[in-house]
């Protein structure tokens, strides 16, 4: 679980062009100013490509944190 969250956090950091390590497992649209609605689309596009998980519209709208994105990954 922790590993998956670390992978997602690194991906979010790279999309938002933030230094690796500055995005923590608790990061979300609520607490990261760079994570706006356009960034959310870019994060989801990158997430889908990197982990091979297809996101539906509902998931794109609601998976707005590292934890909720990581929860989409298979065990």
């Amino acid at each position: 679980m922790a590993n998956r969250q670390a992978d997602v956090a690194a991906l979010v950091a790279s999309v938002l062009k933030l230094t690796d390590g500055t995005v923590g497992a608790d990061a979300s649209m609520e607490n990261l100013p760079q994570w706006d609605s356009l960034a959310q689309l870019n994060i989801c596009l990158a997430f889908q490509e990197r982990f091979g998980v297809n996101m539906d519209m509902q998931a794109i709208a609601t998976s707005t944190s590292v934890a909720s994105l990581a929860a989409l990954l298979p065990d």
Binding site: L38, L41, N42, C44, L45, Q48, E49, D56, M57, I60
Partner: protein, 533 residues
């Protein structure tokens, strides 16, 4: 140069993939408005390149659902044409129309009066006509990209409804790569020479062991892979790529293959240079560079042997060396999908491209003649005839290509694209001189170029193609340059030399042609003047 990205869908994710281009995304769905509004960002001099990457299905509007005419598409074409004419100095990259696979009329579509297949063809006909008449439009065939990977991989409905993003990141990545390649091709930036190995590259098996009849090269089975590969190589050659062979083999074996094989698509005369011997390949590649008088940074090397590739890579890092495909059946597709667009991209194919191999082969014949005579007798014996054209509008592609590709005999190495050449042709303050050369061995086409600026009394560009260096044709061009300045009542010409890694052979051109040095700056750039009576 900054780039403005216009669309009718959300293309913002493409911006990151387009690096190192400096790209700004227009407002959402502002493409038509930006093209038509003279106060828009698109019209601003800040942007030298405008990308019009639209989604055809969306632009079709109701016509996509079989209702009415494709009004927005026609409007886009109107605006594109007006914009291209109003901004000859901008490069406008426009995608072709590409209707998706979803058809409301399903099997009835092709024959229906509302056929999307027919609408697409009609719109593309008109678009191609506009692009032919406006050379600052770079027409980009997005359909070939979508066909290659398929809509299931490239399109996404969830992101479309979540945020008007039609494409997956896979598509954005592939699209950015192809756009970079197309822009390089448009600018004339491509390599010149394809160097090929023989065994397990041009045919299957080892000719030295199996003999000319034992190699795999045929219309069936594995042999068909190699024969189709040769067909694709031959097609590349017809776009102006020079072919050469670097192979460890007995020359007699290759002779016999050329003489006896009915399955060789490539013949001896298709190769500008052949190095078949037992020397190390880096040595043979340097020999090819010397024979063709071209730098190894214009070479691409294809060899199935990883060891040979690594040896060349280590010795000659400027040579491009693509990884060979893992399976032989991928060979023809690999050349056309990957190698050709990456290194031999072409946008316009000129008459010089078509005749390239024969021109380079004549270099060898002339070199033999030159070894037997002194220079004066050699030049007289060649029976050189040159014609100099002033502002030859029909040769605009070749003129831009010469500024992009000439490195050695080039006094200022200024690279110009078609829009800039168009501006020189249109300007009363500039003249373009283009020299066409022929001698008793045949025509070389356009090989000498000068661009002069009457307003500043300055020679902006002066270059000679490397294959005719040493024939004194520069004197003819310089003479004509002086004539034109005299006709304009000018009595002073400013000459300029800008040193590069490759143009040292002309460092003293102005010194030996009656110019006197005015100044040298810290970068080695020299200004000269010559007073003409």
């Amino acid at each position: 140069m900054r780039t403005l990205l216009l669309s009718n869908i959300n293309m913002q994710p493409l911006v990151a993939f387009l690096k190192p281009w400096d790209v700004v995304c227009g407002e959402f769905n502002s493409m038509l408005l930006d093209l038509s509004n003279p106060a828009s960002a698109a019209a601003s001099p800040e942007f030298g390149r405008i990308l019009c990457l639209y989604d055809t299905d969306t632009l079709l509007g109701d016509a996509f659902y079989g209702e009415g005419a494709p009004v927005q598409c026609e409007l886009f074409l109107d605006e594109l044409e007006l914009f291209a004419k109003a901004h000859p100095d901008k490069v406008i990259v426009a995608t072709t129309f590409c209707v998706g696979a979803r058809r409301c009329l399903n099997f009835a579509d092709p024959l229906s009066p509302h056929s999307l297949l027919a609408i697409e063809a009609r719109l593309n006909d008109r678009l191609i006509g506009i692009a032919r008449a406006n050379l600052n439009i770079l027409l980009f065939d997005i359909g070939s990209l979508i066909r290659r990977f398929g809509e299931d991989v490239l399109l996404t409905d969830s992101f479309w409804y979540a945020g008007r993003i039609r494409y997956t990141n896979f598509m954005f990545r592939a699209l950015a790569e192809r756009l970079h390649q197309a822009a390089d091709a448009y600018a004339g930036k491509s390599r010149k020479v394809l160097i090929l190995d023989l065994d397990n590259t041009l045919w299957g098996g080892i000719v030295g062991e199996a003999g000319p009849n034992g190699i795999a090269l045929s219309e069936e089975g594995v042999g068909r892979c190699y024969r189709d590969f040769q067909r694709a190589v031959k097609a590349l050659q017809r776009t102006g790529v020079l072919l050469a062979i670097a192979s460890k083999n007995n020359p007699a074996d290759l002779d016999e293959v050329f003489r006896t094989s009915t399955m060789m698509v490539l013949r001896r005369e298709d190769f500008a240079c052949i190095e078949v011997n037992w020397n190390p390949k880096p040595q043979n590649i340097l020999n090819i560079a010397e024979a063709l008088n071209l730098g190894i940074d214009s070479f691409v090397f294809i060899d199935d042997s990883r060891v040979e590739r690594e040896m060349v890579r280590a010795a000659l890092p400027d040579v491009a060396i693509p990884d060979f495909p893992a399976s032989v059946e991928s060979l023809p597709a690999w050349l056309l999908y990957d190698v050709a667009p990456a290194w031999f991209g072409r946008y316009n194919i000129t008459a010089e491209d078509l005749a390239k191999t024969s021109q380079y082969k004549k270099i060898e014949e002339r070199q033999k003649l030159s070894r037997s005579l002194d220079l004066d007798a050699f030049l007289e014996n060649l029976q050189i005839e040159c014609v100099i054209h002033v502002d030859p509008v029909s040769q605009i592609n070749r003129i831009a290509q010469m500024t992009e590709k000439t490195n050695q005999f080039n006094l200022t190495t200024r690279r110009y694209q078609i829009p800039q050449i168009q501006r020189f042709l249109d300007s009363p303050d500039h003249a373009i001189l283009l020299l066409e050369y022929k001698d008793r061995f045949g025509s070389e086409g356009a090989v000498g170029l000068a661009i002069i600026d009457f307003f500043e009394s300055r020679i902006d560009t002066f270059l000679i193609s490397c294959r005719v260096i040493g024939r004194r044709i520069e004197n003819l061009i310089l003479g004509k340059v002086c004539d034109l300045f005299r006709e304009r009542g000018r009595n002073r010409i400013i000459g300029e030399f800008i040193p590069t890694r490759k143009n040292q052979q002309v460092a003293h051109f102005f010194d030996v042609h009656g110019f006197s040095l005015l100044s040298t700056d810290a970068d080695g750039r020299k200004l000269y003047e010559r007073i003409i009576a």
